[in-house]
């Protein structure tokens, strides 16, 4: 099923994460979301806990859930989405590149 990706001691990726928000610009600020705040949210919820970590051992729920690109993208969505609604903008898509030639897109269960 997983081929070389199942090797017991794991392997690494230089993941690239793209987070897309959608909304109408606020009439005063001209922005749909404060990018500085977005950066802080992503930093705190995703980058700090996941960067340079062995997902299977160090980042729950991947001690129990297989850290496929699909599962990691959904986990990132679940971490970000509650912090990104209620305002004019909403989380529209999470794109996770595992390599240059393989990426996954997730837009929530409704999509």
């Amino acid at each position: 099923m997983y081929g070389a990706a199942a090797n017991p001691n794991g392997h690494g990726h230089n993941y690239i994460l793209e987070v897309t928000l959608e909304g109408e610009p606020d009439p005063v600020s001209g922005m749909i979301f404060d990018l500085k705040r977005l950066k802080d949210i992503i930093q705190q919820s995703v980058i700090e806990p996941m960067d340079h970590r062995f997902l299977n051992h160090e980042v729950p729920p991947f001690d129990k859930v297989v850290p496929t690109a699909e599962n990691v993208a959904v986990e990132i969505w679940d971490r970000l989405q509650p912090q990104l609604h209620g305002g004019p903008a909403r989380l529209q898509n999470v794109r996770l590149y595992e390599t240059e030639d393989l990426y996954v897109d997730y837009g929530g269960e409704a999509s």
Binding site: M1, N71, V74, Y106
Partner: protein, 145 residues
């Protein structure tokens, strides 16, 4: 629903020329692309599949199966070939990227259900880049509407 996109590359050449047009009309319409001996591109192909995650594997699709399908149905026949002379569909069809993307769709769909029995994942989109300035996209969901 999750979309998984895989990128492939192939090099191929083509000549844009329609038998339904005169020599002059062909030159006017296709310009340099009508030059008699063809010209080549380093094509980039993206295939997007969509579906739910398999409960046990956490995967939308085994990527090795998709790779095998794209390789056997598309890359093996297209890579380092002259579309007009070497690929059967283009004996009479002009190998524009629009037509190439349709042929890729047909070829993938022919064996899709054998490779992915059970209905998932579905073919979601095909994206073909001819040069850094031209790309073409076929979206299956929009197509079905």
């Amino acid at each position: 629903m999750i979309r998984v996109t895989r990128r492939y590359r192939f090099a191929a050449s083509h000549r844009l020329h329609s038998d339904n047009l005169s020599e002059e009309q062909n030159r006017d319409l296709y310009g340099k692309c009508n030059n008699p001996y063809g010209h080549g591109h380093d094509y980039v192909l993206e295939v997007t599949v969509a579906g739910p995650r398999d409960q046990r594997s956490g995967l939308v699709a085994p990527i090795a199966s998709l790779d095998k399908l794209v390789s056997s149905e598309v890359l093996q026949d297209f890579d380092h070939r002259f579309f007009n002379a070497d690929v059967r569909e283009f004996a009479e069809l002009v190998p524009t990227s629009e037509n190439i993307i349709r042929v890729i769709e047909e070829r993938l769909k022919t064996r899709w259900d054998t490779v992915f029995p059970g209905g998932w994942p579905r073919l979601e989109a095909i994206w073909l880049q001819e040069t850094k300035r031209n790309r073409f996209e076929l979206n299956e969901t929009e197509n079905a509407r």
